[in-house]
């Protein structure tokens, strides 16, 4: 450190704890209590990045979340690096590594800087205008933009950190721990309310806590001293939960809010082990008080973006809080009294202040008079017309304003300046208020938008509502909080506040220069490089709505959401179009208010906790027997069981051959099961399925097809009549929950008169499905006393038997076309019955098969899978399943839709079979089917829905939906693939055992 930038101090920075950090490869030092920004500034580093479009050198500008420039890449670990971190927000820790991110190859020599000289060629809308055409060039543009613009690197490895979510409920949520928030918290607590107080900084107290002037007094004490006592009091208050380092990310309807707490980001990397990094609070508050304060505005003048140009309030905070001088040749440029506090802080710390430039004619408030009495040179009615210094400001030029304030007059004065502290007044932080749906109104006196109407139980206080002077802040906060909480008296009612009162106000949104506007660069949005010129250009080109102007010029579109720029953009639009700012309206602020990491958003829901998954009672057996699993809904289903390194194809061929030739066993536990009881259960089934149920006898099973009201197939499955008024319905695995909801919906809302009760019993039963020519022998070995003869136990029937103490429901139903028994037992006996079957089937080479083989076996028989062969546009007629539509029933769900003009069209897509001319060629599911591939545009007739190689038929088979498919049987069609065209013939959908002989073994 060659320059003496650290001031002896300080209550907030611990100079006994020296910390090292690395910025762009250089080792530097700071102290515990510093932010990265204050540490950089104490090392005389202002230049930290390059702007997005012109790659102009940019320096630290603020001391908070509104920072547009000091956006750094933190860390160099592939898993832990964080892009887009504001140096003004991150607390310094030992070993911190950071890099500038928006510059290539380096921050000091940046190739993109050439854009600065090309800037006349890069006006507003440049990206839209240039990169739109020709479309095929986009790849090249994108490469160029990414290489030279680049907003940081995302981590390339999995995030090893832990993140948490926590729900919180409170009577009063207070957002912002500055003086007004603290007073509100105390008032609420004294009224016995449960208070949650959030503060995004490490310490409570806001800007008043480091206020050191002698003018502001509360109850005859220095205001910061008074505040410290209040904070001590609040910390010991049992009604108040305080969360520091916690910033509010989103304010949703019904007072639901999200806040993010940083728990380890301020610790050195070694101290973070096994700690939760960030916690997301999901807060439901009865009432919300917003006390987020205000952000200082910059001023808009030529070359107002050089490193060393900072907000006056930031310069003050770096001196008073961090003990860091931002420059040794300071100049203040203001339009209001607040920057005079910076003047006093500079003076008190013995820091050189060359001059104050004030665009007002004069001011005679207490604080300005005090500055005058110190002999500091003040240029009234002057403005900065230019600044010099490429990587750091070194000189400014000022001129006198004319009477109207729209031009400059007289001669230029040049001043030395390595830090220009600018203030254009203050903007209340109304972001959260508007995010919550609140409407703003414009205050012409201060040129600010303030909270107006809201539907929520919320209140804005302090400078967040537009009170900027200490007596207003305190007295109105007390008064408004009492009213909001319906309290008569508080302990603050007799508070005595003294402060300087501002009398003169003047505001010029775009300050004039001696050069024409076209030759100047007055920046509005530092991050996106939009200037006042761009706004005017957008208006000339016909953009009127502020939302359009914003998008066209990209003003306010950066990671800072234009916290600094938006008011000037509005002001310039209003001035140019002669509109009242209040009539323009503001742009909408959207969550998150400050960026959230992905880790915080997902919390613990990563890896195996990303979503719940369901396992059948036989799951462990499948794992032990080398099953591969597929996800079906939330279920893990055995997919196939490869042996000795078999491929999936080989395993499926072996499994399906075994099922057809001897026996196979499938875990069918995942099928949805709904227990239906009640005197109207039969009538209910008649209404929800297409076919008739009235004649079904106890002990019999029936396949049913369920439609939506639009006539499209929704679900299917077998329902068994267990007793007079008792049925067990099965549904598809993936459709179970939806079917249940749909049936409940009809029962509750359309047919409340029906006496029917539904209970989901999917998880209560486990199902082992044994099939194949030897299935009967195997089941017989297990249930020795059971009569399995076709007469006693025919296809589509059911028997209830005991195996020891285990109740077994056996359904003789088949989805494979083979003789098949589905044995249902209480879930806890699932693995037992499965192993019993395996043991009994050993001599018959019983082969466990998974979902893939099941799909193949049913496709050979032409059985559909809802959701694979149907997609919500298929009626039963389209599926060639006319046989299942009852002609006699007056009504069922979807019946009327089956003869709408659209559903009776004969040229609808219909389910057909496809056979490839080359029997070894397997079609790809999803492949398109055409008749003529030469006539362009090629007419798509349909697509393949299921396709397999059948080991039993020794040929490839497929199901497809095809336009007018029913009429096309025997037709030759084409399936064009990327490297060849496959010839196919339309066939019947049933490929094997058309006579249904196999189901009887």
């Amino acid at each position: 450190m060659s320059k003496n930038l650290r001031i002896n101090n300080k209550q907030f920075v611990d100079e006994t704890r020296k910390l090292s950090f690395i910025f762009n490869g250089k080792k530097l030092y700071g102290y515990k209590g510093d932010t990265l920004a204050s540490a950089l500034l104490s090392n005389d580093i202002h230049l930290v990045g390059r702007s997005f479009k012109y790659h102009r050198p940019r320096g630290i500008m603020t001391s908070g979340s509104e920072e547009p420039n000091a956006i750094l890449q933190i860390g160099n670990d592939d898993a832990l690096t964080d892009p887009n971190v504001r140096a003004t927000e991150i607390e310094l820790y030992d070993g911190l590594i950071c890099n500038s991110q928006n510059c290539w190859p380096s921050v000091k020599f940046d190739i993109g800087g050439i854009n600065n000289f090309l800037s006349p060629l890069l006006p507003a809308g440049f990206y839209y205008k240039t990169f739109m055409w020709p479309a095929s060039f986009w790849e090249k543009y994108e490469y160029f933009i990414r290489k030279s613009a680049g907003l940081g690197k995302s981590p390339t490895k999995q995030d090893p950190d832990m993140y948490d979510h926590r729900y919180m409920h409170c009577d009063i949520l207070i957002v912002g721990g500055g003086v007004s928030g603290l007073i509100a918290a105390k008032i609420a607590s004294d009224d016995n309310k449960k208070v949650l107080l959030l503060e995004d900084k490490e310490l409570l107290g806001g800007s008043l806590i480091y206020d050191d002037n002698d003018i502001s007094k509360i109850d005859n004490q220095k205001s910061s001293e008074w505040l410290k006592k209040l904070i001590e009091n609040i910390k010991n208050d049992k009604n108040i939960i305080i969360k520091t380092r916690t910033s509010l990310a989103a304010y949703h309807n019904y007072n639901f809010l999200l806040a993010r707490q940083n728990l380890t980001d301020h610790l050195s990397v070694n101290d973070r082990n096994n700690k939760i990094r960030q916690r997301l609070y999901k807060i439901r508050a009865k009432k919300v008080i917003i006390s987020t304060g205000a952000i200082e505005r910059p001023q808009v003048f030529h070359n107002n973006d050089r490193p060393g140009i900072m907000l006056a309030s930031a310069v003050k905070k770096y001196i008073d809080y961090y003990g860091v001088r931002c420059g040794l040749e300071n100049v203040i440029f203001t339009n209001n009294d607040s920057a005079y506090e910076t003047a006093l802080s500079l003076h008190k710390s013995g820091t050189k202040l060359n001059a104050i430039i004030d665009i007002r004619d004069n001011s005679s408030s207490e604080i300005v008079n005090k500055v005058k009495s110190l002999g500091i040179q003040i240029y009234w009615n002057h403005t900065v017309v230019n600044t010099k210094g490429y990587k750091r400001i070194n000189k400014i030029t000022i001129m006198k304003l004319n009477d109207k304030g729209n031009d400059v007059v007289g001669k230029k004065i040049e001043l030395n300046c390595d830090c220009l502290a600018i203030s254009g007044g203050w903007t209340p932080m109304v972001h959260l208020f508007t995010q919550s749906g609140g409407k703003l109104k414009f205050d012409n006196k201060d040129n600010i938008f303030v909270p107006d109407k809201t539907n929520l139980n919320q209140l804005s206080i302090g400078s967040a509502k537009g009170d900027f002077e200490l007596d207003d802040v305190l007295k109105n906060s007390i008064k408004d909080t009492k009213k909001f909480l319906q309290i008569e008296n508080s302990n603050f009612d007799k508070i005595d506040v003294k402060c300087s009162k501002e009398k003169e106000k003047k505001n010029i949104w775009l300050l004039p220069s001696d050069k024409p506007l076209s030759k100047t660069k007055p920046f509005l949005d530092y991050q996106n490089d939009s200037t006042a010129k761009d706004i005017k250009l957008a208006l000339r080109e016909g953009f009127k709505s502020i939302e359009h102007v914003k998008r066209y010029t990209t003003t306010g579109m950066g990671t800072d959401q234009g916290k600094l720029a938006n008011m000037h953009a509005l002001g310039i639009v209003a001035d140019t179009t002669n509109t009242n700012m209040g009539d323009l309206g503001t742009t909408t602020f959207r969550p998150p208010y400050t960026p959230l990491t992905f880790g915080t958003i997902v919390g613990r829901n990563v890896g195996q906790f990303f979503d719940i998954f369901r396992k059948t009672p036989m799951h462990d057996w499948h794992v032990d027997n080398n099953a591969k699993f597929e996800n079906v809904g939330q279920w893990k289903r055995a997919w196939y069981y490869p042996k000795d390194g078999e491929s999936m194809h080989d395993a499926v061929q072996r499994e399906s051959k075994a099922a057809r030739e001897s026996s196979g066993i499938l875990d069918a536990s995942t099928l949805g099961k709904i227990d239906i009881q009640g005197t109207d259960a039969n009538e209910f089934l008649n209404r929800v399925y297409t076919n008739a149920w009235s004649k079904l006898q106890i002990g019999k099973c029936r396949y049913g097809l369920m439609l939506n009201e639009d006539g499209m197939v929704y679900d299917d499955g077998v329902t068994t009549k267990l007793g007079e008024n008792h049925y067990l319905m099965t549904t598809t695995t993936g459709g179970a929950a939806n079917v249940m909801s749909k049936l409940e919906d009809y029962l509750q809302t359309e047919w409340p008169e029906l006496d029917v009760f539904l209970t989901s019993v999917t998880d209560h039963f486990a199902t082992a499905s044994v099939c194949g020519p030897n299935a009967k022998k195997i089941v017989n070995k297990i249930f020795k006393d059971l009569d399995l003869s076709d007469e006693s136990f025919p296809h589509m029937s059911f028997k209830e038997v005991k195996l020891g103490n285990i109740n077994c429901r056996i359904m003789r139903i088949s989805f494979t076309g083979e003789l098949s028994y589905e044995i249902n037992v209480e879930a806890s006996y699932g693995k037992y019955i499965w192993e019993k079957c395996i043991e009994a089937g050993k001599e018959f080479n019983i082969t466990p098969y998974g979902t893939e083989t099941m799909h193949l076996l049913r496709a050979e028989k032409g059985f559909i899978i809802v959701g694979q062969d149907t997609d919500g546009t298929m009626t039963p007629v389209d599926l060639q399943m006319d046989w299942i539509i009852s002609k006699k029933k007056y009504d069922f769900i979807g019946k009327r839709s089956l003869y709408r003009s659209d559903t009776i069209r004969e040229d609808r897509k219909q389910l057909v079979g496809l056979l490839t001319d080359d029997p070894n060629e397997i079609l790809e599911e999803g492949a398109q089917i055409v008749k003529d591939e030469n006539k362009k545009p090629v007419n798509m007739l349909g697509h393949v829905t299921s396709s397999y190689f059948s080991p039993t038929l020794k040929k490839s088979i497929a199901l497809a939906v095809l336009k007018e498919g029913k009429k096309l049987k025997g037709q030759k069609l084409l399936v064009p693939m990327i490297d060849k065209t496959i010839k196919v013939t339309v066939s019947d959908t049933v490929f094997l055992d058309k006579e249904n002989e196999r189901i009887n073994g």
């Binding site: 949703h252 309807n253 009201e709 909801s741 409940e744 919906d745 409340p752 019946k895 009327r896 839709s897």
Partner: protein, 91 residues
């Protein structure tokens, strides 16, 4: 995220509920009597208004009961909650 006052369970978080679209569209008692246009009116046509909208909600992760909600779509304020079968309130 809304807070919804289930008429059977009380005030719960929106994440426990599913929305079922516009309320008071009764399934025709005799669908076969309707022509295509009338059936299409029932099947497809739904209102999407700015202001008070009557809609069905289901406490899916709770009591699983369906009920009606009068919600102002301009600000998501729930004006009234009433049971299935009850008439919509005059708002």
């Amino acid at each position: 995220m809304f807070l919804i006052n289930c008429p059977y369970c009380g005030e719960r978080d929106q994440s426990e509920f599913v929305s079922g679209g516009e309320a008071h569209i009764a399934r025709p008692k005799q669908p076969t009597e309707l022509n295509d246009d009338q059936w299409a009116e029932y099947l497809f046509m739904r209102k999407n208004i700015k202001g008070i909208q009557f809609e069905r909600w289901n406490h899916a992760h709770g009591c699983r009961k369906w009920f009606n909600v009068a919600r102002d779509t301009s600000n998501d304020k729930i004006e009234k909650i009433y049971k299935m079968g009850e008439q919509p309130p005059k708002l």
